[in-house]
Amino acid sequence: MEKVLSVQNLHVSFTTYGGTVQAVRGVSFDLYKGETFAIVGESGCGKSVTSQSIMGLLPPYSAKVTDGRILFKNKDLCRLSDKEMRGIRGADISMIFQDPMTALNPTLTVGDQLGEALLRHKKMSKKAARKEVLSMLSLVGIPDPGERLKQYPHQFSGGMRQRIVIAMALICEPDILIADEPTTALDVTIQAQILELFKEIQRKTDVSVILITHDLGVVAQVADRVAVMYAGKMAEIGTRKDIFYQPQHPYTKGLLGSVPRLDLNGAELTPIDGTPPDLFSPPPGCPFAARCPNRMVVCDRVYPGQTIRSDSHTVNCWLQDQRAEHAVLSGDAKD
């Protein structure tokens, strides 16, 4: 499979009045052509910051990529100038945001907002852009596109607006589409339609999708591969099957255990006790150690390296380390 994007050891920090927040602390992953790669994790785990770094849309001044590389088409996106980045945004990598109610400009027609990227990146004539916009609107399932593109966002429902936002992101045929919680603001029936639309578009355009979400139900429906993030680091990366059927990291297991399931017939949900660590001063060891049911001495002190379970499945947890078995047997592991 062809690799389209490679994030290597990404570190992002925010400078605030209270100190420096290390939001992303060494995230690495690859994205392949045509796949849907989901990044899951709770609020504040750094998943949105990761996607904003790829887009070059980190808040200026306060946020900074302190280390690492984002390789795309042999270029490191972290080292590009603003101008070069603008040429990539919307053309090669585009993004869909969470809330379709606020993502569209209320004072411009939908057609105008859709055509903008075409005029900017493809230097199309207005007429050609209009044609393109029409076909894109039909692709995302907006009936009567000729009439609709003259209308304003407030004349559309939430689901329709999200379709427009998706059309807007796809209109320049990007290689990568980053969807940051694309269905969170929608009700469930619309959510299902939008996810269906995602799959359909992917079949037609072969775009690679990075799906940022905290909704495991969404992940189960559309993701090919899944990364579980915790406190700015990757806990576990694997195929959807790996993650849902053979989760290895205690955090992944905890996440899955806290989602209601029909097949468990009303069995009690098991929440993960505790809260994530303070990222002003993250712990030196595994950030999940304080909440982990299987904690060992080493977990508090040293961050676990990556254990490769299979071609597709990697996990950062001491329990998976080859040395763990020895430690448990010899009784060193417990406090």
């Binding site: 053309a91 569209l104 400009n105 992101a169």
Partner: protein
């Protein structure tokens, strides 16, 4: 739209009726008459004069007489300067006042917007503080004080501009500046705060995600939304520029309508009071109407034809 216009027209007519009635009442409540002069007029002469100008008619007839003059927009001759009709005064004074007021408004809007946008983009930076300090000064200094300061500095000390009258473009500089600074400051502050808010909106992020240039994002996506609060105050700003121009016209000896307005009240020149008041209120009402129309143009969510 047509229905809205018609509705608005009647509302405007009603407003003008109220204004004229109030003006009429106030006019008659003020003691004195056009013929009360210090040296005293012969009683018989005064009677004759009052009869000539219908001032001895019952008030209700006088009122109807005035209403008639408003509908026909013919206010008759001035009492104090009988050779001059009120319409002539308006014709002479209005172009000057209009020129002064409009220049001031245009300058205020443009410079206010530019200052506000710069301040918002450089938020909490040096330019922001500089622009906003200027704005606070502009709001706090009344225009008549500013006018005298400007005359002192630029006309008397530096001799850069003439101190008074309205004969060439260079004469316009000081009065328009004095008149424009206050509204400019208000517009700058409003633009800054609404621009700061708009720039954090999600659709601005969407525009960035499309790879648009910062200039395009600001002009096409942000400014239009940030303009709404500015448009709202524009109506009242026009009013304040109109009234402000009375004072400015007086200070700079500009032969505009303001001069006639103030003089006519001092002299109880009833037809002139009526004429200028009605004229000013018509202009103000039309301005407010234009502002409302501008809303609809800027924000498609405001539909003028649905609910007036």
């Amino acid at each position: 739209m047509a229905r809205y216009m018609i509705k608005r027209f009647w509302a405007m007519a009603a407003t003008i009726l109220v204004i004229t009635t109030l003006t009429f009442v106030l006019m008659k409540v003020i003691p004195g008459s056009p013929f009360n002069e210090e040296r005293g007029t012969n009683e018989a002469v005064q009677k004759n004069l009052e009869a000539y100008y219908h001032l001895d008619d019952p008030l209700i007839f006088q009122y109807i007489f005035y209403l008639k003059s408003i509908i026909t927009f013919d206010f008759g001759p001035s009492i104090k300067k009988p050779s001059d009709s009120v319409n002539d005064m308006l014709e002479r004074g209005f172009p000057v006042s209009f020129e002064l007021g409009m220049t001031a408004i245009v300058i205020a809007v443009i410079s206010g917007l530019v200052l506000g946008v710069i301040a918002a983009l450089r938020r909490n930076g040096f330019l922001d503080y500089a622009a906003m300090s200027l704005a606070v000064l502009g709001i706090s200094i009344p225009n008549f004080i500013l006018a005298t300061l400007l005359i002192q500095q630029f006309a008397v000390n530096l001799k850069l501009f003439p101190a008074a009258t309205w004969t060439s473009p260079i004469h316009m500089v000081l009065p328009t500046a004095a008149l424009a600074v206050g509204p400019m400051a208000i517009i700058a502050r409003l633009t800054r705060s609404s621009m700061v808010e708009v720039l954090t909106q999600d659709y601005i992020r969407t525009a960035k995600a499309k790879g648009l240039s910062p200039f395009k994002i600001i002009v096409k996506h942000a400014l239009r939304n940030a303009l709404m609060p500015v448009i709202t105050v524009l109506g009242t700003l026009v009013a304040s520029i109109l009234t402000g121009s009375f004072v400015i016209e007086k200070i700079f000896a500009i032969p505009g309508m303001g001069k006639y307005f103030v003089e006519s009240i001092n002299q109880r020149d009833y037809p002139v009071i009526m004429g200028t008041t009605v004229f000013y209120s018509v202009i103000l009402i039309i301005m407010l109407f234009l502002v409302d129309l501008a809303y609809g143009l800027l924000d498609p969510r405001i539909k003028l034809h649905k609910k007036g």
